[in-house]
Symmetry: D2
Subunit: 318 residues, 4 copies
């Protein structure tokens, strides 16, 4: 492609970041006890509009298969144990059952999951200014993952940056700016709007599949994500939720003194329903075939009282 792409964001000073944090903050917008944050933007009319996008009847998962093997981005592999196989004679007779057990961290770089608003603290405060001791060893007392119990149902809009750039994936450290997001909107003929679910693709998972997993943290190779300044777009457009491959962060970040500015802004400032570590390799095939980058999304965390997050399997419906 002939376009010249800027793959890094302008550095942001600590004071600029503070200003941005205030600018995009939704603290008190929905009252002092709000637990839904930007999901407040997602009204029944948006749900109806999302359902109206279902035209072909295809559905596709946005989740990575649960990963049971330790690796450079999987320090805490899931535990999957068969607890009963058909070697067991049941006292009840027929039929026989086989059963299993799953143990897994609710967060992590290769377990598709959604974050609760209590998951992030910035300078000692959770979203809406709530104190960090709202989260104790007994769980989160407020803003836990059950705030999303009835599901996130709305219009998903995929901005596929590798498609825009004509590459297979973004390389670690590359950042996507607001300008580029708007460019992607134009290329795809979509526009993020109020109550939308922003599906953001860097090709992180495709890179994993093709090159193998890598350590994407500060002691590793890093990862591609968003320019912190692009949060202004999400704020202005009143985006309701965020579904990225990777986790939206550019590592290393472009913000002075803030390692993970996207989480700080999205969750602690804006109260956005955010998820991590999705995969869109199946989705992009369908988008290309359907030639559209908007679809219905239904995503629901497990109803885990006190939880800071949950594994989940979001479904896109065309």
């Amino acid at each position: 492609m002939g376009r010249s792409v800027k793959t890094s964001a302008r550095p942001m000073s600590a004071s600029e970041f503070e200003k941005l944090f205030q600018e995009v903050s939704n603290w008190e917008r929905w009252g002092p006890n709000d637990a839904r944050g930007t999901l407040n933007y997602l009204s029944p009319s948006h749900v109806r509009a999302a359902a109206a996008l279902v035209r072909s009847g295809r559905s596709v998962s946005l989740a990575i298969p649960i990963n049971k093997v330790a690796g450079p981005d999987n320090a805490n592999p899931a535990i999957h144990h068969m607890t009963v196989t058909y070697d067991t004679v049941w006292s009840h007779g027929e039929p026989a059952f086989s059963m299993d057990y799953l143990g897994c961290a609710c967060h992590g770089d290769c377990h598709t999951h959604i974050d609760a608003l209590c998951h992030i603290a910035y300078k000692g405060k959770l979203y809406n200014g709530k104190p960090v001791n709202s989260v104790t060893s007994q769980g989160a007392k407020i803003m836990d993952i059950t705030a999303y119990a009835h599901g996130i149902v709305g219009r998903g809009v995929l901005l596929d940056i590798p498609r825009l750039r004509g590459v297979k994936w973004l390389e670690p450290g590359e950042a996507v700016t607001q300008d580029e997001l708007e460019e992607a909107e134009k290329a795809e003929g979509v526009r993020l709007g109020e109550g939308d679910i922003f599906v953001f693709r860097t090709g992180h998972h495709r890179r994993r599949l093709e090159l193998g997993a890598w350590n994407n943290g500060y002691d590793g190779e890093g990862k591609a994500g968003l320019d912190a300044a692009s949060m202004r777009l999400l704020h202005e457009r009143k985006v309701a939720a965020f579904l990225p491959d990777g986790d939206g962060e550019t590592v290393p970040s472009n913000v002075e003194g803030v390692a993970y500015p996207i989480h700080a802004l999205q969750i602690a400032a804006m109260g956005m329903a955010c998820s991590d570590s999705l995969q869109f390799e199946e989705l992009v095939k369908v988008c290309e075939e359907e030639h559209r980058w908007e679809f219905m999304i239904v995503a629901a965390p497990l109803r885990l009282p006190g939880g800071t997050g949950s594994l989940f399997n979001p479904i896109a419906i065309f």
Copy 2:
């Protein structure tokens, strides 16, 4: 109410059961390597029709909150541990994260979950005649829960039996016959059809909430469910999936020598996508308010390779 309700099913002999098993069997219907069973009935056109039911934009969870406390129907309580709270100073600096861990059996009487087709064996055979050694200590080699990875999306039809009977819940041991299911259809103005998701309410969870949990097995008080013969209705109507409170079984069963005939018929014979231990207390309120007993359902298991089931949180959308 003036209607007289038959709350127990006619006893079924072992040979009648064998005949019924053959009658409703879908073995070989969709080929020798089929892993989707009755979900084959649920076509894209059904998905579109389901989405067209979204008129008010309300969504409601059908899952029970995850239960961390051992009890008479919860021998294996979920393990939910906070792994990081805000007492931790992160080497990366801001922001701070809190995190947790969930460990849980993939089946059980008070964990809302979906069964894979490999979960049940009848007389040494899985659905489609597959051998039981397809499930080993290393997981299921075939018909695991990932067969449903892209979600179950379709029309849900609630048959609310306590509503029909004018009671709060069915008592343990009571069975719902095909006739009563058809009576419920008429009372609600709905009809189960091809590709539908049958949402079956006995009030099991309401009884739990009001009277407390009880041991619903053969060494306990039992539970209310379906008459085994009613599987004919589901088979004839080409129902795609089954979402009950309780698990569909009447305990004690009305079948000679088969303790859990519904699982045997639905899963092993028919290859039906079945789930267990849902709750409809929030759903029925919405149904009454909307005065309709059909809605879109989106339900997705975790993508657990080799799994015999998965916790999930099915969402009804009106």
Copy 3:
């Protein structure tokens, strides 16, 4: 038996308890960074003397089998999963392996375990006056269970109170006073001394075996244990470690405003190596046959960095 037994202790006021706490405190006795507490009393010469007690060469476990079933005193049953059985073909060929997994709380009323000194805080302070924030979601920074990594090796002295009283077990709520401990010493011809491991039997586990488990907490039936004032004896005699069936506590306690005074005194004040939930049903048979109530003990926690306790299996050797 003709003796009249006092089965309850004199009530102790809050101020008396404070005075007792100070009286038996070992804070600063072994320096500000001590992590071994009363194990400092257990010198190599005591180890040699303990080994000299080995005369018959019999060994016996003091641990309860690990309990995998939830019950009134087992809210958190152990998880024991077979992870590989012989249904698995190994790529390496011969031989084949079977394997398993154990998950368990490090404390609990029916898991034999040892407490680290960090396990208890009284009025906001750990043993030696250390701050409670020494224990975080990342584990204990000081006084963790690895302080006992090289084992507790010494002379065990069993005071068998049911034997003294001529009963099968003490009933919940009964307390054993210092006088009765001294009476038991005389009856058995032993005397607790410096560096000894005090093995204290109320018959708690025998009662479990014969009557079934019960809820031994404040919302249940309670349990038999020590009079708080008896800690003076342990302090004066310079006892090194404590191995009870039950956990030493009388519930309800005889101390105003302190629910579990024995843990507060033994661990937070004295820095004593304490364990919980042992069983002596096998031990007492050997003691009677050998006609002696002293023996060598070797007990070692798992080397769990940051741990507040550990399952263990203490061995008595005669």
Copy 4:
């Protein structure tokens, strides 16, 4: 050192191995229902003799600290979660408790553990000719780890091969022959005899500490261990138990078609109480200081019904 060391064993053909298996087999020696295997050699008189070795009163752990971090020899890291910290207000008031949870595989290359006799099958048979279906998804029905519940108490004899060779550790793939074991006996002035616990040091753990962990399997660098033929020595001498760093195996093995011959011979043929993955770095310091390579050992698995192994912390007492 001037001695020339043979660091690899003579290759052994499949038929030679079969012959060796028969030669060292203890099947039927202690009856058809034996579960103690070579521990039958360890009589009370050996226990007494072991206790008589306690002269200085020092004790030392032979266990590796539990490893919570995934690595090349730790595919299944232990899970250690703080379940309660002092952020929690207890309804019972004082004192406060902190608690934790440990989940861990019962086997593995960097978790010090002991194997049950059911852990190994050779050509479809367990020790004593028992069928492999004695181990099911519900646990081992026979020869589980509770066979060792009352502890392994006896004389430990360390043969320190790196000391003999004048090296820091043996390199992966190096094998120790019977001749070299006998040479080590002479150098240390000890002799393995009936009922002894053979403590075998290759320096495996020292290499881990100095060079970092490595994949010691067939898809990795391998490990140092015993020549399969050396099992004759253990058999003739009636050794009761085996405590190695590493796990005794030389990888790659010197036996045609048998990847792990030591496990096959020790456990399946001989019924030996074997453990894996110990560390002797603390032990060797004490041995040098005491200038003796024999000591009392007390080692006890957790009492895990049905278990194929257990984490443990064996203690050497001088």
